[in-house]
């Protein structure tokens, strides 16, 4: 009956053991191997193989599981049900390149289908259970970024991304208003009448979408800061953070933009950056440190976290009741990528009058607006479908308002909200309202609607 009985008991491989334990018999490591060889790149490796060399272990780590636990949380998979556009396919293609089966030219277009929301990484058992222990999380977002960069480097372009980045380069800002010019001359238009200084120790960085399209968001933020007596200025010469270029694979451009911004902060003695957009927050906390290493010595403060703190300290007290039935949309880059989900809820709970129907953050792993990772530029129809599905989930809660904390999500969510008769409001705007602030500015809508997707030639 007993498993350990029998002739095998003296052979170290026949008994249960935990490889790597110090008290294992030495013979274990000394047994000759018939198959295993050190990995060597094939002679005259292709460019694709050189690329896959850096990612092969990461890619195999997913390929080896291949169970696709990530799939049903992936926003693109949810609306397309296309197995070629699943997180695991992004790794499998790299394995195929490693095996010399496929080339970057063949796979590049598939990598458009990702919002870089990070849900797959969280849902992946490799990350959930042992990833951190082995310092080996599944990093699908990084793989997607790397493959996109490799594509651009190899001269393989996606047409809408290419022209988007060309125009961003021309104007130093993303062409979020289509043909309507956005540029350095207009970068501070959103703050008309607020009388904000330039430069200083703390500056507020406003992303392109908020600066030119949904100007109510930065106006709300600036006025709340003024109300709290928090000193800050605007950037002298602000360029796009470069994050979208990095997401679409235009790494050199991204770095150039980053360098410009860093130089500008240096020139105005800036030490602290206030950031209201989750995408910028990723750029400044992940991309910039990668580009500049220790040279990037700017403190990055997320406005939502700052506001929660100011409320906690009693420096801001929302008083005006906001009579709405709301639910909160966790922006992917806050909840999934950065683990920031408490503070926005703290803010919402401090606003009187709200009937807040919350959805827990884990359930929200499978929600996305579809507005990230350059998806709306190449595939606006997918973004719209993902937003519609997010609104469907909101509608089930019987709410009249969906609150987000990410300007890039608010355009597609707002458009989908019109169909579902649900208003999409930014958390900063809502807080401002409860603080009695008349915000002003534009919430996008008809004047800019569709420009992002509509003008992509």
């Amino acid at each position: 009956m007993t498993q350990l009985d029998g002739p095998g008991a003296s052979d170290p491989v026949s008994v249960p053991f935990t490889p790597g334990m110090r008290d294992n018999p030495e013979e274990l490591a000394a047994i000759p191997d018939e198959i295993v060889r050190a990995h060597v790149l094939p002679p005259g490796p292709t460019r694709s193989q050189e690329f896959s060399e850096q990612w092969r272990n990461a890619a195999y780590s997913c390929f080896s599981s291949g169970h696709k636990f990530c799939r049903e949380v992936c926003p693109v998979t949810q609306v397309t049900r296309n197995e070629s556009w699943t997180p695991t396919a992004f790794h499998a293609n790299v394995v195929a390149m490693d095996k010399g089966e496929m080339t970057i030219e063949e796979i590049a277009a598939d990598y458009v289908n990702c919002t870089q929301c990070g849900a797959c990484e969280l849902r992946c058992p490799n990350t959930l259970f042992t990833g951190d222990f082995y310092r080996f999380r599944t990093r699908t977002v990084d793989v997607v970024k790397a493959v996109r960069a490799f594509a651009v480097e190899s001269g393989v372009h996606q047409p809408a991304w290419q022209s988007w980045n060309e125009r961003t380069d021309e104007r130093s800002h993303e062409p979020v208003l289509g043909q309507t010019a956005v540029s350095q001359e207009h970068v501070r238009d959103w703050s008309d009448g607020l009388d904000l200084p330039i430069g200083g120790e703390t500056v507020l960085f406003v992303d392109c979408e908020a600066a030119f399209y949904r100007t109510s968001v930065p106006r709300a933020v600036a006025q709340i800061l003024q109300l709290a007596g928090y000193e800050f200025g605007l950037m002298g010469n602000q360029w796009c953070c470069g994050g979208p270029a990095a997401e679409m694979g235009y790494v050199d451009q991204a770095k150039r933009f980053a360098q410009h911004n860093l130089d500008d902060w240096r020139s105005t003695g800036t030490k602290r950056l206030l950031v209201l957009d989750p995408h910028d927050y990723i750029s400044f906390t992940e991309d910039y440190p990668k580009y500049f290493g220790a040279d990037f010595d700017i403190e990055v403060v997320l406005v939502v976290e700052l506001f929660a703190e100011l409320i906690r300290e009693g420096k801001l007290t929302p008083r005006v009741p906001v009579e709405r039935a709301i639910t909160y949309h966790d922006p992917c880059r806050l909840n999934k990528r950065k683990g920031i989900w408490k503070e926005p809820r703290e803010i919402l709970r401090s606003i009187p009058g709200l009937d807040f129907k919350d959805v827990d953050r884990v359930t929200q792993w499978s929600y996305c607006s579809g507005g990230g990772g350059g998806l709306p530029v190449e595939k606006p129809e997918l973004t719209a479908a993902i937003s519609a599905s997010r609104l469907e989930n909101a509608a089930r809660l019987d709410v009249d308002t969906l609150v987000s904390a990410c300007p890039w999500s608010e355009r597609p969510l707002g458009e989908a909200g019109e169909a579902a008769d649900i208003d999409v409001v930014d958390i900063h705007e809502m807080l401002a309202e409860s603080l009695g602030i008349e915000v002003g500015g534009s919430r996008g809508g008809s004047e800019g609607s569709g420009a992002r997707g509509g003008d992509r030639s």
């Binding site: 198959i35 496929m102 490799n126 259970f129």
Partner: protein, 503 residues
């Protein structure tokens, strides 16, 4: 294996009469990503298993249209749903068309009075249950692949549910379904023909025939499923033992107790505990004196689960069990789907961490034969391991298959270092699979009980297991699929078309 370009053009042209262009996928990544399942496969020979194209139908009519065209043009058809099957079932061996049914994932009808739901077969159980929860209901087909496998694949494999001792397995839970036959004809099949009937004795019992055939007899497109009240209480105690024998005796006693809320029991052997110990620090501590584990699961109302739990705790105690506490018990059961297949558990004998694939071989084995099968299976894997670090022993589980504990789904988990696979390593593996299956048969078990046994290696022994029954399989295959278009090459069913076979 792929078909000639001119024929491919002809095929695509024909498919355009039933599908939109965007539903027909011909690119290389589209084909490569539908040529594998999580089971390790000879990745160095990936290109030999590609489909010529994949289609994404959205209705029964479209599926029927595709199959009709394929039958006319004599092109192989491979149904694919979640692509999580572990027997290469959804992997094409002869090229042809992969019919990927994932887009058929709608909830078509929820019948609260009769407690059924009718769904497209591309829906995932977890996703379905998210919707059902609002009505206080759930669909209890709960494989360890619950977050990723889909209803059509469950039908195709006639899979096994972790909580089947209480609720039944896929075959019991699926009441009936729409099915496209290999000729493209559509039928509805249930017990008898009823849509929502769970019992019928008119005619042959066809439902079983059209489940678990691994896509060799057609494609299920919409299924009506049995629903249960979402359980109010769940009790999932984990007990530790300092030896396998006591754990083994305990699991049998728990299953034989016949508690009505008993949904399943699992026995982890010493190798499995050693494997779990690899991430002690990463996850749960398994002290050195823990040599085997038993878990039992109960589902039901609070006031029935509690007393049944007491009874099972008493039985466990009598067998020398040490309760691991609520936190570990609940956490480990909640994680039951995810603890599989974490590739970084892979290690060489010397302890180097390497990405390995999880592969499981399984069989239904009578309770009394478990210890002997367990021992022989480990010996087979030890043999592999002695020769090379491509293989790693990840231990064994045994789960109750039925409420009385008559047999257990017995599974050995083997880590495979796919980056190192070559023809020689693959040969070793296929031989080992054959040997594992032979052990199961020698113990009067059924090989690869839930995952099907149609893959390279163990499939060779299917005729031995079924005897005369295998010839009946050939007869049925030939009758229903005269042109051998449905998933050809699987289950040795090509023999149905070889000269000299009985007609």
């Amino acid at each position: 294996m792929t078909i000639a370009v001119e024929r491919l053009d002809e095929l695509v042209t024909a498919l355009r009469t039933v599908l939109r262009d965007e539903q027909i996928l011909t690119s290389k990544p589209d084909r490569y990503n539908r040529a594998r399942v999580p089971a390790p496969f000879p990745v160095h020979r990936w290109s030999e298993r590609l489909p010529d194209l994949a289609v994404l139908p959205t209705s029964t009519e479209e599926v029927a249209g595709v199959v009709r065209i394929a039958n006319d043009l004599r092109v192989p058809v491979v149904p694919r749903d979640g692509g999580t099957g572990l027997t290469d079932g959804a992997v094409p061996l002869r090229g042809g068309i992969v019919v990927d049914v994932k887009r058929m994932n709608a909830i078509k009808e929820l019948d609260l009075a009769n407690r059924t739901v009718t769904v497209g077969t591309g829906i995932n159980m977890l996703k379905l249950n998210e919707q059902l929860a609002r009505h206080g209901l759930f669909y209890p087909d709960d494989p360890a692949s619950y977050p990723c496998s889909l209803v059509g694949g469950r039908i195709g494999t006639s899979g096994w549910s972790l909580i089947g001792s209480r609720y039944g397995h896929t075959r019991d839970l699926v009441l009936s379904f729409d099915h496209v036959l290999p000729t493209g004809e559509v039928m509805h099949v249930g017990d008898g023909v009823g849509h929502k009937v769970s019992k019928s004795s008119s005619g042959y019992q066809l439902k079983h025939l059209f489940m678990g055939h691994q896509g060799t007899l057609g494609i299920a497109t919409a299924a009506t499923l049995k629903l249960f009240p979402k359980p109010e209480a769940e009790l999932s105690p984990f007990w530790a033992f300092d030896n396998y024998d006591d754990a083994y005796a305990c699991v049998g006693a728990l299953a034989r107790a016949g508690a009505a809320t008993f949904a399943g029991a699992v026995l982890f052997d010493e190798w499995k505990v050693a494997y779990l110990r690899r991430d002690d620090e990463a996850y749960i501590p398994q002290p050195g004196d823990v040599r085997a584990l038993v878990c039992a699961v109960m589902y039901g109302y609070e006031d029935e689960v509690r007393p049944a739990g007491k009874r099972l705790f008493r039985i466990a105690k009598e067998h020398g069990a040490r309760y691991l506490g609520d936190e570990i018990s609940q956490g480990d059961w909640a994680a039951r789907h995810d603890r599989y297949a974490t590739p970084l558990h892979g290690r060489t004998k010397a302890g180097q961490v390497v990405p390995m694939s999880w592969h499981c071989e399984d069989a239904a084995i009578n309770y009394t034969d478990l210890p002997s099968v367990t021992k022989s299976w480990h010996e087979i894997v030890a043999d592999l391991r002695r020769r090379t670090d491509v293989f790693d022993d990840w231990g064994m589980f045994a789960y109750t298959s039925g409420s009385t504990g008559v047999d257990y789904l017995t599974e050995i988990d083997v880590g495979i270092w796919e980056q190192q696979l070559d023809d020689r390593a693959w040969e070793m593996w296929v031989k080992a699979k054959r040997d594992l299956a032979a052990v199961a048969l020698a113990h009067h078990g059924s090989i690869s009980a839930c995952h099907g046994s149609c893959r390279e290696g163990e499939v060779d022994l299917v005729p031995d297991e079924l005897g005369r029954g295998f010839d009946v399989m050939l007869d049925i295959k030939r009758a229903l699929d005269p042109n051998n278009i449905m998933n050809p090459g699987k289950y040795l069913l090509d023999r149905a078309y070889e000269a000299g076979t009985r007609s």
